[in-house]
Assembly symmetry: C2
């Protein structure tokens, strides 16, 4: 089906990619053989650190003409195997395309290369009093990766997800053609929405080489509050009450004491309070403290009425650091607490979060796996982790599959979706198909074929 890369191919690629940016066979670091999903490894035959749209176009044109598979990769932080070169071939790494090209203050947009890291983008705009709201936990992911999975993050409650902040894309199609989708315009009703089709397509339809992102003015004030509850059930049940109150919140996160304990161990640092089983972390932002105050007073009163034990301001530098470092380290901490883990990134309607979390406890007992979780209570997106904890391969696989079946079944029952922000990649394909049904998968396969008739771009992913 695909051709195996040969010496002629290598010679051609080296004719325009200088040494130091192209690596062949054993020269390639083992890091490029996997992403953050455990249990799947496959090395590309050639790794190229690209610098420009033109280079990507030239590589794709050659790959298309010679039937070579290609995978694009940013920081490789994804959790579903989307950036693994299952068929070998060429890996295009965008890490060196990490320049901020233009900050346009008249149109409130920023134009960036795909390899810019989320944390670099956030720092750059915030220093200049602008704001890029999408805030996934993994700050060292690239913007190209964030767009390819439609990453969401904590501030989706108020601001939405990555999709809502992408105004335009420059993309290279599988045959090497370069196309502009969208632009700096705010409204667009000009033909089918190819831009939104690319967002979240996990590098299977084209390679993103430039993005125009929407910015907001930076809110001058932000306040976070930590509220302990006796049980996780009580904690999560307060969330629909908050939403019904119509208060304006930026983020509503939940954390259980056991995941906080993993993070304390992992970071070697104490969380400000560890007397209760569950915690809700609320964030409010705006342009005046007065305005925010009205909101948080209303919400904290409501939480106290509905079972919160207390409400702490996360205000001192020390406390901010302690709370946000813990929140930021939860994934790594759970990972460090076991030998292998797999994850379930379901999203359910907001009023089903409490029930779903409770259900993970039932599944944990039923299948015999530790299943810690944390996540975005305010937008229904849960991060649920299945931990191997030294189980034998076969037992682990059986229990893991059973747990996934139960969890995704429940998500469907609640009219949720398989993935809220991590994507489908290689690992969740079967569950996607199970949820969407044959017809929608068939439509998606048809679309894939329209963009990539030879199936050379990131084969074996999503559908």
């Amino acid at each position: 089906m695909y051709n195996k890369i040969n010496n002629e191919d290598i010679a051609y690629l080296k004719s325009f990619i200088p040494a130091g940016r192209i690596f062949v066979g054993e020269e390639i670091s083992a890091d490029f053989g996997h992403d953050e999903l455990g249990g799947i490894e496959k090395m590309p035959d050639v790794l190229i650190n690209v610098l420009s749209t033109e280079e990507v176009s030239k590589i794709m044109k050659y790959a298309y003409d010679h039937d070579l598979p290609v995978v694009a990769r940013g920081s490789g932080t994804d959790l579903v195997g989307a950036a693994v070169a299952l068929e070998g071939g060429i890996m295009i790494c965008t890490s060196l395309m990490n320049h901020i090209l233009e900050l346009d203050e008249n149109n409130l947009t920023i134009t960036v290369e795909p390899g810019v890291l989320l944390m670099e983008l956030q720092a750059y705009v915030e220093e200049r009093d602008f704001f890029y709201p999408p805030d996934p936990g993994e700050k060292s992911a690239t913007i190209g990766g964030n767009i390819s999975t439609n990453a969401g993050g904590m501030r989706a409650v108020k601001y939405g997800v990555t999709r809502d902040f992408v105004r335009g894309l420059t993309v290279v199609l599988p045959n090497g053609d370069v196309e502009q989708l969208g632009g700096k315009v705010v409204k667009n009703s000009s033909g089918y929405d190819l831009k939104d089709l690319i967002i979240g397509s996990e590098g299977t339809l084209c390679i993103i080489t430039e993005a125009i992102l929407k910015l907001l003015p930076k809110p001058s004030e932000s306040v976070s509050m930590l509220l302990p509850f006796k049980t996780m059930e009580k904690a999560i049940e307060v969330v629909p009450e908050i939403i019904k109150s119509k208060a304006s919140l930026t983020a509503i996160e939940f954390m259980s004491l056991n995941t906080i304990n993993y993070a304390e161990d992992f970071l070697g640092k104490k969380f400000p309070d560890t007397n209760y089983e569950a915690y809700i972390l609320l964030t409010f932002d705006g342009n005046s403290l007065r305005e925010i105050e009205e909101e948080y007073n209303k919400v904290v009163d409501l939480c106290l009425e509905h079972g919160a034990i207390d409400g702490y301001f996360v205000d001192t530098d020390e406390r901010k650091k302690s709370v946000w470092n813990t929140r930021g380290a939860l994934l790594e901490a759970i990972k460090a607490s076991t030998d292998l883990m797999d994850e379930c990134d379901v999203v359910v309607p907001k009023d089903k979060v409490a029930k779903f979390i409770k259900y993970t406890y039932d599944v944990s007992k039923e299948v015999g796996l530790r299943i810690p979780s944390f996540g975005h209570a305010g937008d229904g997106n849960l991060h649920v982790y299945l931990c191997r904890d030294g189980l034998e391969e076969k037992v682990w696989e059986e229990r893991c599959n059973k747990a996934f079946d139960l969890l995704y079944e429940k998500a469907i029952e609640y009219k949720g979706m398989v993935s809220g922000e991590h994507g489908i990649g290689y690992a969740k394909k079967a569950y996607l198909k199970n949820q969407l049904g044959e017809k929608q998968i068939e439509l998606m396969r048809g679309i894939k074929k329209v963009f990539d008739p030879k199936n050379i771009l990131n084969p074996g992913k999503v559908i």
Copy 2:
């Protein structure tokens, strides 16, 4: 290519659609032969007022099996011929599917049938203290129509467009299959984004039979201000200054004295001030007057510094009525001022609006047509009207084509798009192709074929 509808087809359709909801041949009102685009008329052979997803599915299955063309239609208010049955066949009218199915206060969503009118939806949610921000000028359009063109409206500056408020869709595919896309979930990274592909596809990929829309809490306060300027240039040039100031505005509209005069004649009512050539209308909203006050004081000071003659509050009931009625009547008023008109709904980056408006004056002189305009200065979406004013058919067509060529060329030069919110339909196909190029049109045609291999759904539109 298509079969002509025969008596057997009619008999089948009448077997499950009762009399009173199905009309054949001359029974069909002439209204269904056109939309609001002048100069194009074509009657469908059968008109069916559907009541349910099941009926739509049954009709589509039959049409698919028998190669009959089908066009879905709501209120027929569109301006590009998208709802005209160019090939005859079956017209499915959704006007009777006008029920609000569920208001979900836990998830801040509302589920509606496609025939609900925008004004009905807005009234329903606002009575209950919720807010559906998209606010296109044509309030008697259906929600199904708004979704099919990704309508924008005045409040896009702060809140975005229809796309940003569609969480889920129930659609009937050309072969009659019924699919759910998205749902009540806030985040979604589960396969290709079919939902956003349908939004703005003008009824060419499937028929929308239900929509889950996102709501916001209703802002308790809203303030509008009217600012006169000596010239349109001065008026529009202030807009980038407002945007750069990072003030939070809901809407920034511009109106010229001549369009205001048409509206005065049309409505038989006076506008509060007609001493100046150009007016900017600003809207602010929020949850406290204090908060809004800070914003509008900042913005009005800025405008006065940059050439505004004055700043009137649009506060008394009388003044509100006068200003908003005028703004709402601009399109109808321009239409009433001439025998025939055509429109250009370009969107350009916000900082190009002033230049583009100035360019319409040049084009008017160059081609010899009256070209009034108004629109959304705050989001770059302009509504530019070419008026026939009694010209002979051939002269009108020549001048009209020349003007369109010049206007769309300039839009491309400014990196704008052919349509901000009215869509492509039948009338703008050539300009879309010219802007996007062969490759993107080819991708769109490929997608159309994946959804509608027999090209029976709204043929001859968009691409």
